[in-house]
Symmetry: C2
Subunit: 412 residues, 2 copies
């Protein structure tokens, strides 16, 4: 039997469901400095041990006072208060305001006892060093931040699985947590197969080509915050592929096999995988990418990618990227841009077509619209891949796109 | 004179123009392995020393032959060819086809001499081990990739300043270039000022707060591929700020000063900068972010950011991010998502308002539309910052947005 007949072909949606249902995110944890934690995922609940701020703080340059003493004040009927002193920046104040007293306060300064508002400097006038004229009333707690208003003591600040960005890291700094427990980086083993493949640093003889796929995949894995581990180029022999996969599975969370491009080479990969685990998907209704293999070995995902660079890249973007996000305890939000097709793009119903496009500003639009110009070319070439900056999906049941259709383009 | 009066306030567009016109990208170069070059910018022209591929290659499993010998073939009137032998994967073939001869060839195999096309296995039938029936004609060079078709020898593959992605890295691997000259990472010096600021690892007394801004800015700088260098927290004294800026300018390409939030603290920064270089912008028509300072010291940009975390973050996103991209020899393309405002958002004409929003799926839309829910709150708090995932710009001359307006949201 020709194993490339793909008797039970799956859609991309079915394939992603299978990946998500069969594989759980690994749970190994490491503690790292918060400055290195951008784009990492929390592996602990974070609670604050303190109120932030831990004092009532002014948000304006002005005068701390009791709001009651300004009620009814206007420029024609100002309120007059006694200036009791100055709040100094960064210092606890020991002032305690009596009725009709105010204290000079800078933005960020600590409110004195009995103050419950700050009037902005712009609405005041110092008659002399002891007397303040207030021309506008302020509400209770106006122009202030109260104790615990930002973050409450003992409250949950971030739950486990929160994706950390610069802003969460700022909040961790605010509560004094300078290290944080995050999930370890995902380890992705990469195997290249194919008798025609030689290492990138060597000079290929006739009939040979350099290993491109390891670099494309390795770069993308790094880009997604995971760690690529390379297992070199394995000859097209079932036992050698078997041994490479075995080592790779034991040392990684995910295994990606950049397949030889011939049917024979793919059969070797299928045979090797079949002897070690369960094949979940063999054949996906997409182009490029139909010969994709998904298997489960020792509860880990092993994915056979097609051999052509463009096919490998598309399958990575469409199927592997969401899997890696899932295994990193997060969801993927790839960038999309809305663009208009620059010409008709044919497609065969019965499969999803992924068309590489060049997104560029529409010269006929004044309103920063974009055109998507399809880039055709054999998927064995690298040029149509690096000339593209976007990927369009033509759905399963669609015979193609007309020129001028507006649609989302996945940024590559 | 109160230096915060901002007599010559600039728009954000004017400010970015000033930044781009005054500051050139640094040109220091380093050589790195291509696998580390994702998101780096080429500092050399890359030419290929070889044709890629360096042999005529099959893109299908099938039979190499001369296209002429299949002309007119059909399933009712097949062509019959003699099978001259097998092309082996990854090996030079020494076969030379005579008239009406074909050779078995795998995808990626080398075409024999005198072959100029490949017929797919699906359109053939082997009558016996010596005789091939071909049921469909092929065109000249059909199902092949010719010598140099992907990348031509001596041609320019990528010019200087090309941003490298996984696909460019794949192309570099294809031509055997495993190291590449790129521009060095941008060095960004970060100074915190403010008498109320204490280090994140310490316990603030009353009236004190931890340094949040260094972490937000440092994380964003790392995220953009630049190197943050921290110069600690500097007291609000002109001479101390002066000395910190001087050290920072000499050791970095860009200096960011996270300002104290009070008017007095800002005045110290202005005084220190004025004594060392030229102030280009003092006051930007945006909220938050109005007190932003941009100066030129020793031909390097020195930017004073406002002290509140939300203000610092917004100024970083709107002004500093494009500058860092420019200084990294690239252009910025921040992610945008189209969303609909969930409620009216007021704004004052005469300045750009930047409103933090939470983007979420619109529960009333079946078509994966998004709602942008504004998050209000004092810019001195960190919570409204980490609760947001998007930023909306309300233009200078606009009095606000109505509920239901569709607009682009910058992803945070």
């Amino acid at each position: 039997m020709n194993k490339s007949l793909f008797l039970d072909i799956k859609t991309t949606t079915e394939t992603i469901d299978i990946l998500f249902n069969h594989f759980l995110p690994p749970t190994l944890i490491e503690s790292i400095p918060i400055l290195e934690a951008n784009n990492r995922v929390l592996a602990q609940d974070v609670c604050s041990q303190e109120d932030i701020p831990n004092f009532n703080r002014s948000t304006m340059d002005g005068y701390a006072l009791n709001a009651r003493d300004t009620f009814g004040a206007s420029s024609s009927m100002p309120a007059y208060l006694n200036i009791a002193g100055d709040v100094l920046m960064g210092e606890a104040t020991h002032l305690s305001l009596k009725s009709n007293e105010a204290a000079r306060i800078p933005t960020g300064g600590m409110l004195p006892e009995n103050a419950n508002a700050v009037v902005m400097i712009e609405h005041t006038h110092e008659i002399d060093s002891k007397t303040l004229e207030v021309q506008k009333p302020v509400g209770v707690w106006e122009n202030t931040v109260c104790i615990g208003q930002d973050i409450k003591k003992q409250s949950l600040l971030f739950p486990t699985s929160r994706l950390l960005r610069a802003y969460e890291i700022g909040a961790l700094a605010a509560i004094g947590q300078t290290r944080v427990d995050v999930y370890q980086r995902l380890r992705v083993g990469i195997i290249s197969t194919g008798d025609e493949i030689v290492p990138a640093h060597s000079l290929p003889g006739q009939g040979q080509v350099r290993d491109i796929n390891s670099f494309i995949i390795g770069s993308k894995v790094l880009e997604l915050g995971a760690v690529p581990n390379f297992y070199g180029i394995v000859q097209d022999r079932v036992e050698m592929i078997h041994d490479a996969i075995k080592a790779c599975v034991s040392q990684n969370d995910v295994v990606l096999i950049c397949g030889g491009s011939s049917v024979g080479a793919r059969d070797f990969v299928i045979d090797a995988i079949s002897s070690m685990g369960e094949i979940l998907v063999h054949g996906v209704a997409m182009r490029p990418g139909k010969p994709t293999i998904i298997a489960k070995i020792e509860d880990k995902p092993v994915i056979g990618l097609p051999g052509h660079p463009a096919s490998t890249a598309v399958v990575f973007l469409v199927l592997v990227q969401p899997l890696l996000a899932h295994l990193q305890h997060t969801t993927l939000s790839p960038g999309y841009l809305t663009a208009t097709t620059s010409r008709n793009i044919p497609s065969q119903p019965g499969r999803e077509d992924y068309v590489r496009v060049r997104i560029k500003p529409d010269p006929e639009s004044s309103n920063s619209k974009y055109l998507a110009e399809p880039i055709f070319g054999p998927s064995g070439l690298i040029r149509p891949l690096f000339e593209a900056n976007g990927l369009i999906k033509i759905p399963l049941d669609c015979e193609g796109l007309d020129k001028g259709e507006e649609l989302p383009v996945m940024l590559m």
